[in-house]
């Protein structure tokens, strides 16, 4: 690679990183507690758990669960009902003023065996909520998400250009060399290169899956337009089915389970909400295998008649979105993986921080070669004579 090319790549690396670094530092720092959000929830006592009962304890009707939840918030509508992946003794009912997407929601946790309210968890306050919002949208809704997604794109550009620059910087050095005895800038440059190249694949995967996640809202909107609009053509111009005219949700759920045998319920989207249609209660089922449990199969059940209208196959872009979630969260192989995720996150913070340091101290690199102009000793590394060092200035 000639020095002109190196210069160009260095320019790309410098500017793509400079623009996104502050936001990436924010994402790394807020992401750190989010890796352990379940465990932190346990410690803070904010995680709701159903009391232990024999697995075959009979369940109350889902209709009764919904009545109980509505009675707590008579002025609201049920938007979603979900069941934690590891605890089917619990229903989590989400209520909002209208079926439209909103930040204003109340949650009621109900015991699936007794039908009693266990808690009314508040997901919109506290330390973890602030971390969560800063991490996903900077408290700025869709615009914030897409902005962070763009920063993620810049991160990918910075990673790619960083890999290209790794070669000229490391030409005379063995893998893992950290020149500590020289100037601190050299030490941090070596650490930046070392940690950057070792965490490369992980950061690229976490960065790109994070970026894909910022498009979730748009992907779901597109799915409705792309796949659901033809399915829903017969219902065109009909208003959202009023609660009074809806069939039993318990019966609808049984019908959905028969349609997707061997699958487990992930969540239910009620008529008029963003994951359903105005005329359907949509049951999102997940597979029973380790991999298929990360994918969802929607079953659209007519809200009035409790008949299955359709169980459309997930298009590839929704599958990609769903698979990108565990790859971003690192929550799919137990506590050891969460710890590894956290350590790699810390390594990334060091890469970002050292990159920023190298840029702030760039003036020294201009002066340094002059100081290093003495005749090098035989066998002594000559870092400053490499073209890579010169282009940084």
């Amino acid at each position: 690679m000639n020095s002109g090319k190196i210069k160009a790549w260095a320019w790309v690396h410098k500017w793509s990183s400079l623009v996104c670094t502050v936001f990436m530092l924010l994402l790394c720092i807020t992401g750190l507690p989010l890796i352990f959000h379940h465990e932190i929830g346990h410690l803070l006592g904010t995680e709701v758990e159903a009391p232990k009962m024999p697995a075959d304890t009979p369940r109350v009707s889902l209709d009764r669960v919904l009545e109980t939840a509505r009675a707590k918030h008579p002025d609201r509508v049920v938007q979603f009902v979900s069941q934690p992946e590891d605890d089917d003794g619990l229903w989590l009912v989400t209520l909002t003023p209208t079926p439209e997407p909103t930040e204003d929601f109340k949650s009621v946790a109900i015991d699936a065996r007794t039908g009693e309210v266990l808690a009314q968890p508040k997901f919109d306050e506290g330390f973890m909520y602030v971390m969560f919002k800063l991490h996903i949208d900077l408290f700025a809704g869709l615009a914030g998400k897409l902005f962070l997604g763009f920063m993620g794109l810049l991160l990918l550009v910075a990673i790619a250009s960083g890999v290209v620059l790794y070669a000229p910087f490391m030409r005379k050095l063995d893998f893992g060399t950290v020149r500590r005895e020289k100037r601190p800038r050299l030490k941090w440059l070596d650490l930046h290169n070392l940690l950057g190249i070792v965490t490369l694949v992980w950061l690229f995967v976490v960065g790109s899956t994070g970026m894909i996640n910022t498009w979730a809202d748009l992907i779901i909107k597109y799915w409705q337009y792309d796949q659901l609009s033809t399915l829903l053509a017969p219902y065109k111009n009909e208003p959202t089915v009023p609660v009074a005219e809806r069939a039993s949700v318990q019966r609808s759920m049984e019908v959905a389970h028969r349609q997707a045998p061997g699958m487990k319920l992930s969540f239910i989207a009620f008529p008029g909400t963003s994951f359903s249609s105005p005329h359907h209660t949509t049951f999102f089922m997940r597979g029973a295998e380790p991999f298929t449990s990360k994918l969802l199969q929607p079953v659209l059940v007519d809200a009035k008649t409790a008949q299955v209208t359709a169980a459309p196959k997930m298009p590839w872009y929704l599958t990609a979105l769903l698979v990108s979630q565990p790859l971003h969260f690192g929550d799919y192989a137990g506590m050891p993986m969460q710890i590894i995720w956290a350590l790699l996150d810390v390594a990334t913070i060091i890469v970002l921080g050292s990159g920023l340091y190298l840029w702030l101290k760039r003036g020294h690199a201009v002066r340094a070669p002059a100081a290093a102009c003495r005749t090098p000793q035989q066998g002594e590394p000559q870092p400053d004579s490499s073209p890579a060092m010169k282009v940084q200035a």
Partner: protein, 59 residues
């Protein structure tokens, strides 16, 4: 063969560690508390160990 040697010297470890990372990330997707998870811990743990080893080592 000098050229190939130089390539391997520079990119050998980065490629090995990158492949290990990829294997770890994917293997755990197909496992639920099984061998795939354990493989992932080692495959992803090794790059972390390499970071720590070279990052902390005093010459």
């Amino acid at each position: 063969m000098k050229h190939r040697h130089a390539f391997r010297r520079m990119w050998g470890w980065p490629i090995v560690l990158g492949l290990l990372t990829a294997i770890g990330l994917v293997s755990a997707l197909f496992s639920d508390g099984g061998a795939g998870d354990v493989l992932a811990w080692f495959a992803l743990g090794l790059p972390v160990a390499v970071c720590a080893w070279y990052g902390w080592r005093r010459n």
